[in-house]
């Protein structure tokens, strides 16, 4: 299967994939890990705002998590095509 690497911000709604990289300092990675999004986790994008840079809403396991746009564009996801 063809895989593509996108950021959470550029992913389409309802697309799913695996988090492969987080571009940012240790602080960002620990914050994401603590809330349940370590590298390697399966993630589904639920929605993002229509008007540009609003937060992205994802589903990880059974939890919905809101991620600010800046942070979402630093999270890289390998998406199934």
């Amino acid at each position: 299967m063809y895989k593509r690497r996108l950021t959470l911000a550029t992913m389409k709604n309802k697309q799913s994939g695996v988090v492969v990289a987080i571009h940012g300092g240790m602080g960002l990675r620990t914050r994401l890990e603590a809330i349940g999004i370590p590298v390697g986790s399966l993630i589904i994008k639920k929605s993002s705002s229509l008007l540009g840079a609003g937060p992205v809403i994802v589903m990880v396991g059974n939890t919905e998590i809101a991620i600010g746009h800046g942070m979402a564009s630093r999270i890289f996801v390998e998406v199934d095509q």
């Binding site: 996108l6 620990t30 349940g36 370590p38 008007l51 540009g52 809403i57 990880v60 939890t63 600010g68």
Partner: protein, 607 residues
């Protein structure tokens, strides 16, 4: 023995704490309700044990101030009761593994067991116990189901062998444990889940939020006005005879008589204007503010327990980035509409000093608490609804302009929003009632002494002539810049004690409609009430509080002056000008949503 209740945010620690200790604490449905730990006691086999409700945390290497409290407490605890959201095992157990490293006696409490069952999640408890080597129980914190066996399990728990794991090893361990104990079955979307999606969907979310806001305001204002009209009659009927008896006992005149009862108007007491401690003081607190407080917390408590607040935070995230904050700051601000004190306390959930400072300053300056709003509705509302609208439009404009300036002034970075969105839960009637009762008691205990004391103080200052002296002193500002009567200074003095009492003091002063609006706006902006000031000092420290107060005074001077100037230029047309300004402001805010500056950033990162 020190027993700690510890777990991720919003897993129901406070509800379980209430059941174990009988101590009432605030519970709701958003992460970060508890910012300070609460202590209580639990008796087991005639031995008293200290139980501590620890603020929720995702980790023990803290960033936010409320997380630091948690990390410090764990080190001191004797027994750890780790509360876990059963619907969210993997993430929650990460903290469990971190807690196991302390080697202390520990019990795992799988809370929200019902929710998990409804979601089709099955957990093998025996297997989980065997893998973690600690006792596991299941509960429903809201109802207290499953908690009866907890005290015994807690006291008899044995210390565990500590296992040090790195962060990667922890996820790896979890990756092995969770599939072994958890069995998920697929199920269709429920009505509530659909509602969840609708309420944050970019198309349907904002209109729904606006509709809810409108509904909430209408409910509070209409019912509030109706009820307070009724309380006036109730006071005439029941309270007036009692006051007249006291009046007779005091001999019908004299210093004490005017301090306590004020102007009785021959038995036809005007409770808002009498200015006695027992007449106006008691009436303002119980006859006007209390009904509004009850209404506000009825509506707010419902939205809070439903889980709506985090969704507002998400919708306003973009707007708040414009003022140097992110979405979560909405939660302290919304709490502040009830009372500024819990609003300021909730800034602890914010991560950076910059966010904490900006949120605190904006909250204390521009957000009127419900007690104050009640009086605004009463005092300004009698002059027409448009003047209430003008008052709030002005406050909102100040909020926006202040935020944009503060964003430039205050150094530091604002991180992105990162927040778990709790599922909607239908509020439990019993919990709602308990919370409302707690908030009413808190209001009565906090407000009544200050309202009565404030009116007593102002009466003393009046009779001693000090007010006239201070009035003359500040006349250049009060009369010169804001265009108000010198007597308004009395309200400004009391405003540092209680804002509702201060606005009540404006009623007898002969002010034009516009002057009334200016006075109320100035009273909101210039200084926090004493209770808020105290927590502000505690949360921000002396240096930042001084800065905050400085900002407030400058803002007040400019806003009051600006309004006065505009009213001089436009005269009675000010209302129309206000409405035009409102439309301009609204379109400005909408344009902020549409502008594409952040898109560039997106492209840079997505390469």
């Amino acid at each position: 023995m020190k027993i700690l209740l510890i777990g991720n945010p919003n897993v129901g620690k406070s509800a379980i704490f209430s059941h174990l200790t009988g101590v009432s604490v605030t519970t709701s449905n958003y992460p970060g309700t508890t910012v300070e730990y609460t202590k209580g006691y639990m008796t087991y086999k005639s031995k008293k044990h200290e139980v501590i409700d620890v603020p929720g945390t995702y980790r023990l290497d803290p960033v936010a101030a409320s997380e630091k409290v948690a990390a410090d407490l764990v080190a001191e605890g004797d027994i750890l009761l780790n509360i876990v959201d059963a619907t969210n095992l993997e993430r929650n157990l990460n903290l469990t593994l971190q807690l196991l490293e302390y080697g202390k006696p520990m019990v795992l409490i799988l809370n929200m067991w019902d929710d998990a069952r409804h979601k089709g999640i099955k957990i093998d408890l025996d297997q989980l116990e065997a893998l973690l080597k600690i006792p596991v129980i299941v509960t429903n914190g809201l109802t207290g189901e499953g908690l009866s066996g907890l005290p015994k399990k807690a006291v008899t728990a044995q210390p565990v062998t500590p296992r040090k794991l790195s962060s990667a090893e922890r996820w790896e361990t979890l990756g092995k444990i969770v599939p072994k104990v958890q069995n998920l079955s697929h199920r269709h979307h429920t009505f509530i889940e659909r509602l969840q999606d609708i309420s944050i969907h970019p198309l349907s979310g904002p209109p729904l939020a606006l509709a809810l806001l409108y509904l909430a305001f209408t409910i509070i204002i209409t019912i509030g006005e109706f009820v307070t009209d009724y309380t006036t009659r109730l006071f005439d009927l029941i309270y007036t005879p009692f006051i007249l008896v006291i009046s007779r006992l005091l001999g019908g005149e004299g210093l004490l008589h005017s301090l306590l009862l004020g102007e009785l108007n021959g038995g036809e007491i005007d409770y808002e204007g009498a200015m006695g401690v027992l007449t106006t003081g008691v009436f303002v607190a119980l006859g006007i503010v209390l009904p509004f407080i009850i209404l506000f917390y009825l509506v707010f408590g419902f939205l809070e327990d439903l889980g709506y607040l985090p969704r507002v935070a998400i919708m306003l995230d973009r707007l708040l980035h414009k003022v140097g904050l992110h979405g979560y700051s909405v939660i302290p601000m919304l709490l502040a509409f009830g009372c500024n004190v819990p609003g300021v306390l909730a800034i602890r959930n914010l991560e950076s000093r910059r966010e904490r400072f900006i949120t605190a300053v904006m909250t204390c300056t521009t957000i009127p608490c419900m007690a104050q709003t009640a009086l605004i509705i009463k005092a300004v509302g009698t002059r027409g609804g448009a003047y209430i609208a003008l008052t709030f439009t002005t406050l909102f404009s100040v909020w926006s302009i202040m935020g944009i300036i503060l964003k430039q002034m205050v150094k530091g970075k604002t991180p992105s929003l990162l927040m778990e969105i709790p599922p909607y839960r239908i509020p439990n009637m019993k919990t709602q009632f308990k919370k409302l009762r707690m908030r009413i008691i808190c209001f009565l205990k906090e407000a009544i002494p200050y309202v009565l004391g404030g009116i007593l103080l102002i009466n003393l200052l009046h009779t001693s002539g000090v007010i006239t002296w201070i009035g003359n002193l500040f006349s250049p500002i009060v009369k010169g810049i804001w265009g108000l009567a010198d007597e308004t200074v009395a309200a400004l003095i009391i405003g540092t004690v209680r804002k509702d009492a201060a606005i009540a003091l404006l009623t007898p002063i002969n002010l034009s409609h516009i002057q009334m609006v200016i006075a109320v706006v100035v009273l909101t902006l210039y200084f926090p009430c004493v209770a808020t000031f105290t927590v502000l000092l505690k949360e921000l420290g002396l240096k930042d509080t001084t800065k905050a107060i400085g900002i407030m005074l400058v803002v007040t001077l400019l806003t009051g002056g600006g309004l006065n100037l505009v009213s001089r230029v436009f005269g009675p047309e000010l209302i129309i000008v206000g409405e035009i300004l409102f439309v301009l402001l609204l379109s400005f805010i909408i344009s902020l949503f549409f502008q594409g500056e952040n898109l560039k950033v997106v492209n840079k990162h997505s390469l």
